[in-house]
C-alpha cells in the first residue's frame, strides 16, 4: 500500500514538472494525451480491475461527457470550468441507468450488453441531427476566455494543468474507493460472489458504485477532450478509444492503481511512435495484448508485485515449501488451545 501510494505521488509529481521542462508543443500535446488516457484507463480499471466485470461500453461515458460539454458550451455558452463537472455528472447518470440494467448480468453477457449500449449511443449521436449535428459532429467547441490572448504554447500548458488536475482527482477518488471497506467489498465480488454475499455484501451496490464512479471520471475526461480538441463527433463512441483503454489497463496491470498509469504512458507513446507503421500498428497492438494475456496476466505491475514479494519474504514464505505445512497447523493450534 505504501509502495503504491509512493508510486502515485511520484507519477503526479513528475507529471507536474513536465510543462516546465518541455517547450516543444508536439511533445506537450502527447503529454496531455497521456494524462487524458490515464484518467480513462483509471476509470475503466475500477470496473475491470476491482469488480472484475469486463465493460466494453466505457466509450458510452466518454462520448456522453464529450457531447455534453460540446453542446452546453456551443449552444448555451457555459464556461469550461462548469461544463467538465456537469459532463461528468451526466455521464454518471448514464452510468447509473446502464448499470442498473447491465450489472444484473455477469461475465460474457455483461460484456456484450455494455458493448451494445455504446453502439446504441453512437447511433443516436449519428442520427439525432438536431442535437448532435449528426455525422458532421460539433466543431468549434469554445476555448476558455483566458486563452484568447495566449499563444499556442501557453494554451497547451493551460490544458496540461487542467488534465493534471483531472488525473489527480481521478487518482484521489479511486484511491479512496479502493482502500476503503467499499473497495474490499468490490474485490470480494470479483474474487468470489458467493463469499461476498455470505458476508453481507449486496453485489449490485458495489459494482454499481464502481461503474458510476468510472462513468463520472471518464465523462469529465470526455468533457476535457471536447474543449481541448474543440471538435466532437460520433467516433467518440467508436471502438478505437475502447481498444486503447483496454490495452492500457491490461498492459499496466488491472486491479492496481499504478498499472493504468504505466499503461497509458507506454501505449500513448507507442501509438505515436508506431504512427509510421500505419495499419500494421493495430496488428502490433493485437499481438502485444495476446502476449500479455498469455505470459503476463497480471500486467507489468503484477511483475513488480511479484518481485517485491521476493525482496521482502513473508515469514511463512521463507519456510513454506521446505516443510510440510499441515503438521504446523496442528502444532500451532494445539499450542493455543491446550
Amino acid at each position: 500500500m505504501k509502495f503504491e501510494r509512493n508510486c502515485l505521488f511520484a507519477f503526479l509529481a513528475l507529471a507536474a514538472l513536465v510543462p516546465f521542462a518541455v517547450r516543444d508543443q508536439y511533445v506537450l500535446h502527447i503529454a496531455i494525451m497521456v494524462l487524458f488516457y490515464a484518467v480513462l484507463a483509471t476509470s475503466l480499471n475500477l470496473v475491470v480491475g476491482y469488480v472484475g466485470e469486463f465493460s466494453l461500453g466505457h466509450t458510452a461515458f466518454l462520448g456522453t461527457g464529450a457531447y455534453a460539454a460540446a453542446i452546453l458550451s456551443t449552444q448555451y455558452g457555459w464556461p469550461m470550468w462548469l461544463t467538465i463537472p456537469v459532463a461528468g455528472l451526466l455521464s454518471a447518470l448514464v452510468g447509473a441507468l446502464i448499470g442498473a440494467i447491465t450489472l444484473r448480468l455477469q461475465g460474457p453477457f455483461f460484456v456484450i450488453v455494455t458493448l451494445s449500449f455504446a453502439e446504441v449511443l453512437r447511433l443516436v449521436a449519428d442520427n439525432w441531427i438536431g442535437l448532435t449535428n449528426g455525422p458532421m459532429g460539433i466543431a468549434g467547441v469554445p476555448q476558455p476566455g483566458v486563452l484568447a490572448e495566449a499563444g499556442n504554447l501557453a494554451s497547451k500548458q493551460f490544458y496540461y494543468a487542467v488534465a493534471w488536475g483531472l488525473l489527480a482527482l481521478a487518482l484521489y477518488l479511486s484511491w479512496r474507493f479502493v482502500h476503503s471497506n467499499a473497495g474490499r467489498a468490490a474485490v470480494a465480488i470479483r474474487e468470489n460472489r458467493y463469499v461476498a454475499q455470505s458476508i453481507g455484501v449486496r453485489p449490485l451496490t458495489y459494482s454499481m458504485l464502481a461503474l458510476v464512479l468510472g462513468a463520472l471520471l471518464s465523462g469529465m475526461a470526455g468533457g476535457f477532450y471536447a474543449h481541448y480538441i474543440s471538435f466532437v463527433g460520433p467516433e467518440m463512441f467508436r471502438f478505437a478509444f475502447m481498444v486503447s483503454m483496454i490495452i492500457m489497463v491490461l498492459v499496466g496491470g488491472k486491479g492496481t492503481l499504478v498499472g493504468p498509469l504505466i499503461g497509458a504512458l507506454l501505449v500513448t507513446f507507442l501509438e505515436e511512435y508506431l504512427r509510421e507503421a500505419k495499419e500494421l500498428r493495430l496488428s502490433i497492438f493485437g499481438l502485444a495484448v495476446i502476449a500479455i494475456v498469455l505470459f503476463l496476466p497480471q500486467g507489468l505491475m503484477g511483475f513488480a508485485g511479484r518481485r517485491r514479494e521476493r525482496r521482502n519474504p513473508a515469514p511463512a514464505a521463507a519456510t513454506g515449501p521446505a516443510t510440510p505445512p499441515a503438521p504446523k497447523v496442528a502444532h500451532h493450534a494445539s499450542g493455543r488451545t491446550a
Binding site: R176, V187, I199, P315
Partner: protein
C-alpha cells in the same frame, strides 16, 4: 472483539417443514429442526441426503418449494443471502470458497464488511470515525486469524495454503462477519484426524464467545459426535432422527441408513 457476545436477546433459528424439489426430484422433504442459542447442532446423513441443499435453503441461495425459516420470531424464508448475513446468519461452503488472490489477513479483514460499512461520503472523505473503525476491524481480523490457529499464515496469500488451512480460513472468514448463527458445511473435510480434533476444540469454545450457536454439516463422525449438543440425521431428503449424539448413534434406522440392513437369514 469482546470476550463474550451478548446472549441477551439471543434468538433461535427455526426450520419448519422445509421442502425443495428440482423438477421431479425431492431434494429436501419436510425438514424441521431448531437451533437454540448456545447450541451446536450437527446435521448429518449419507451423501446426497440433502444437507447442503438445506443450507442453501436456509441462507437464501435457494428458495424453498414449501416450508418456512424463522429467526428471532420473524419469517426470513427465501431472503437473499446478503440479507441473511445482515441478520447474523453466516455460512461457509462445502466446496472451499475464499478470496483466493488475497492474503489470509486480507480475507478475514474483508469478512468484516458489515462492521466497517460506511456512507458514500465517508468512503471518499474518511474522518476520525472511519479510521477508528478500520483500526478496530484490523485488530479483530488478526485475533480471529489467531483463534483459528493460522497466525503463522497471517500474510500468506490464500492460494498457497494447504487444503486443511483453507478450511480453517473459510471458518475464519465466516466468523469475521460476526455471525449469531454460524453455519459450517463440512468444515473438517481435508483435515487429518489431529487437525480435526483441534478444530473440534476450537469449535466447542465458540458458542457464547464469538457466536450464539453453530449448525454444522460434517462427515467426520468423531468430530460431530464430540461437539454437537444435538444431531439431526437426514436420509433421502427426509429427517430420519434427531437427538443427542448418544441417542442417534444407538438408533437402528441411522445405522441402517449408513451401513445398510443386516441380511435376513
Amino acid at each position: 472483539m469482546s470476550a463474550a457476545i451478548d446472549m441477551n436477546g439471543a434468538a433461535s433459528l427455526e426450520v419448519r417443514g422445509l421442502c425443495k424439489s428440482f423438477g421431479g426430484i425431492h431434494a429436501v422433504k419436510d425438514i424441521s429442526f431448531e437451533v437454540r442459542p448456545g447450541e451446536i447442532i450437527g446435521l448429518i446423513g449419507p451423501n446426497g441426503a440433502g444437507k447442503t441443499t438445506c443450507f442453501n435453503l436456509i441462507t437464501g441461495f435457494y428458495t424453498p418449494t414449501a416450508g418456512s425459516v424463522r429467526y428471532g420470531g420473524s419469517d426470513v424464508t427465501g431472503e437473499k443471502p446478503y440479507r441473511m448475513a445482515r441478520r447474523g446468519i453466516v455460512r461457509s461452503f462445502q466446496k472451499t470458497n475464499i478470496l483466493k488472490s488475497l492474503t489470509v489477513f486480507e480475507n478475514v479483514l474483508t469478512g468484516h464488511y458489515l462492521e466497517a460499512r460506511q456512507s458514500l461520503w465517508q468512503t471518499f472523505f474518511p474522518g476520525r470515525r472511519v479510521r477508528a473503525t478500520e483500526a478496530a476491524v484490523r485488530e479483530s481480523a488478526a485475533r480471529i486469524v489467531e483463534t483459528m490457529g493460522l497466525a503463522h499464515r497471517m500474510d500468506s496469500p490464500a492460494s498457497i495454503l494447504s487444503c486443511g488451512e483453507l478450511r480453517l480460513l473459510e471458518v475464519a472468514l465466516a466468523l469475521a462477519a460476526k455471525p449469531k448463527v454460524l453455519m459450517l458445511d463440512e468444515p473438517a473435510a481435508g483435515l487429518n484426524s489431529q487437525e480435526a480434533r483441534t478444530f473440534g476444540e476450537i469449535l466447542r469454545t465458540l458458542p457464547g464467545r464469538l457466536v450464539q450457536s453453530v449448525l454444522i454439516v460434517e462427515h467426520n463422525m468423531g468430530l460431530v459426535m464430540a461437539v454437537s449438543d444435538r444431531v439431526v440425521v437426514m436420509h433421502f431428503g427426509e429427517k430420519l432422527a434427531e437427538g443427542t449424539p448418544a441417542q442417534v448413534q444407538g438408533d437402528a434406522r441411522v445405522v441402517e441408513a449408513y451401513l445398510g440392513r443386516k441380511a435376513m437369514a
